[in-house]
């Protein structure tokens, strides 16, 4: 009987001092999920529900009719031009901003972000003011029979504008945190500029770059306001997918509108999934400089 160890002081049943009581936790989780359900989950679910409500046949017909197919093609074309151009821009801007010290750098970074803070409608309008019939270059373009506004080039330009910052703003903080030691070591060892970029910098930034490309692509394919101003809404010719959704919706063809919208919602979900994968990759392998290892 003597050998019985004294029980350790019991850990009190109540929570640790820096945790909330269980009912508070449950209440807060419930409240947060209720808010997200009303404003996030239900809108997402309703897109697919409304799309499939009239049945699978209506759905397939809506996304395979010629106008829908041509909208898909135009959306892919605009993204296929805008994303690579902004990729080159983003890398060049990040290289200039993060590898060198020069005056006016903060201003440059602010200017790169500018398209994010401008209303999409204004983004489209400014191109009309330059290339439209009443615009600066309008008369000259009309004389030479070149159409930019209410035509594909205008859509590409508007898409370019709204997606300018995406890749640059992912790369700048990343490359800032990586410093310039590795590149400088490569210079000492005799590498030229392109060798440095492709062998040293690119492998270091590949996930950040991919992340920026994913976000840039999502916006390029989904842009509505800016593209709407410059498109002219010509069916089968200057309609992107989001504009096609609008036309169908305004014609009270709801099932078809939601069917086409569901393609864009699917694209958004794929974007989020890729984003989560890239984020977990960068978290698993924290950026390390080879020199320190």
């Amino acid at each position: 009987m003597t050998a019985i160890a004294l029980p350790l002081p019991a850990i009190p049943a109540r929570t640790r001092p820096i945790e909330e009581a269980a009912w508070v936790r449950r209440f807060l989780i419930g409240l947060a999920l209720a808010f997200l359900t009303l404003f996030l989950f239900l809108p997402l679910i309703s897109v697919f529900y409304e799309a499939l409500r009239k049945g699978w046949d209506v759905y397939i017909a809506a996304i395979t009719e010629p106008d829908a197919v041509s909208a898909i093609q135009l959306t892919l074309t605009a993204a296929a031009i805008a994303v690579p151009l902004n990729l080159v821009f983003g890398v060049a801007a990040a290289w200039a901003v993060t590898k060198f010290e020069f005056r006016g750098k903060n201003l440059l970074v602010t200017l790169i972000d500018l398209p994010f803070s401008i209303s999409p409608v204004v983004s489209g309008l400014i191109y009309v003011l330059i290339f439209g019939l009443q615009g600066w270059l309008g008369p000259w373009l009309a004389e030479h029979d070149i159409r930019i506004i209410f035509a594909v080039p205008g859509i590409v330009l508007a898409t370019l504008f709204v997606t300018v910052p995406f890749i640059a703003r992912e790369l700048i903080p990343l490359m800032q945190s990586q410093g310039t030691e590795e590149e400088e070591a490569a210079v000492v060892l005799g590498a030229n500029g392109w060798q440095i970029f492709f062998r040293i910098t690119l492998p270091n930034i590949k996930w950040g770059l991919l992340y920026g490309v994913i976000l840039c692509n999502a916006r390029a394919m989904g842009e509505f306001g800016a593209v709407s101003v410059v498109s002219g809404h010509i069916r089968g010719s200057t309609n992107t997918l989001p504009l096609h959704v609008e036309i169908l919706y305004n014609e009270y063809n709801f099932a078809a509108a939601f069917a086409v919208a569901s393609l864009l919602a699917l694209l958004a979900l794929i974007t989020l999934a890729l984003k989560a994968i890239v984020e977990s990759k960068t978290r698993e392998k924290p950026v390390t400089t080879g020199i320190q290892e």
Binding site: V121, L125, V128, A268
Partner: protein
């Protein structure tokens, strides 16, 4: 004033900066300056008349009011969502965390028609609100709902990292000193995340001011009642009133610049706060 740039052994400065400036000028700066140059064709009194008609003033009131209310709701619930995601665990948390970014990824037109379907009188949510006398779709309240959706990720994503970096020692010290959990939150945690919260609010507000796609479907777009300023620009453009559309665009551009400046200052404040607390 030192030299334009400090010496560096790395190559490519001229090419990279030259290309950056050329591209930025062609795609962004020259087109934006077009709006200012074109609006200079109006005299100042003419400009003032165009941007202060009753219909335009009503659109400012709606745009600013709904954006402010939506950003405020997002500040409250964004903080709650960030808190729940950082501090608690529950099934499906990873999925919820990933879906918070949905408004960034979902095209605004899709959000617009989905919210309209939900909040219309016969919609999943609207059918319960309508008997209570609450009409959401095709009223100014619809504008508020759409702007809440598109601003949702901002506060969550600005507050979340600050909450993650918060040191538990501070809270333990507060608890040891006899503070209740609520006191600790109000006196220790809240001041630490406040700059991030305000930054998130400002980002959501700035985004909402310019929003177009998601709003036009749900708003009903009645002049003087539920018509936002970006829509008014489009209306004027469709009536070939280029001067009027450009004048309104210049007003919106100037608002964007001011908000961008404020956000830059807030982010600086936020950064200095979080680095000084570490």
């Amino acid at each position: 004033m030192g030299p334009f740039r400090q010496h560096s052994v790395l190559p490519g400065f001229n090419l990279a900066l030259g290309f950056t400036l050329l591209y930025l000028s062609l795609i962004v700066l020259i087109p934006i300056s077009a709006a200012f140059v074109r609006t200079a064709e109006l005299t100042l009194p003419e400009f003032w008349d165009v941007v202060t008609t009753p219909r335009v003033l009503a659109s400012y009131r709606l745009t600013f009011g709904a954006s402010f209310a939506a950003a405020l709701l997002n500040a409250i619930f964004g903080l709650l969502v960030a808190w729940v995601l950082v501090r608690y665990s529950f099934p499906g948390k990873k999925l919820v965390d990933a879906l918070v970014d949905l408004p960034f990824a979902l095209p605004t037109a899709v959000a617009g028609i989905a919210l309209t379907a939900l909040y219309a009188g016969n919609g999943w949510i609207g059918q319960y609100l309508e008997p209570l006398g609450l009409k959401i779709a095709f009223t100014p309240a619809g504008v508020f709902v759409a702007l809440t959706f598109i601003g949702l990720p901002f506060v969550v994503r600005t507050v979340q990292p600050v909450l993650e970096d918060l040191e538990p020692e501070l809270e333990e010290a507060a608890a040891t000193l006899g503070a209740s959990r609520l006191q600790t939150f109000l006196r220790v945690i809240f001041p630490a995340i406040f700059p991030a919260l305000v930054t998130g609010f400002a980002l959501a507000f700035a985004r909402a001011i310019g929003e177009y796609g998601s709003v036009i479907f749900i708003a009903g777009n009645m002049p003087m009642i539920s018509e936002i300023t970006p829509l008014l620009i489009i209306t004027k453009l469709e009536q070939y009133d280029y001067a009027g559309a450009t004048a309104l665009a210049v007003v919106m551009l100037m608002i964007s610049f001011v908000l961008l400046l404020i956000i830059n200052l807030l982010q600086g404040w936020s950064r200095s706060r979080s680095s000084s607390s570490v």
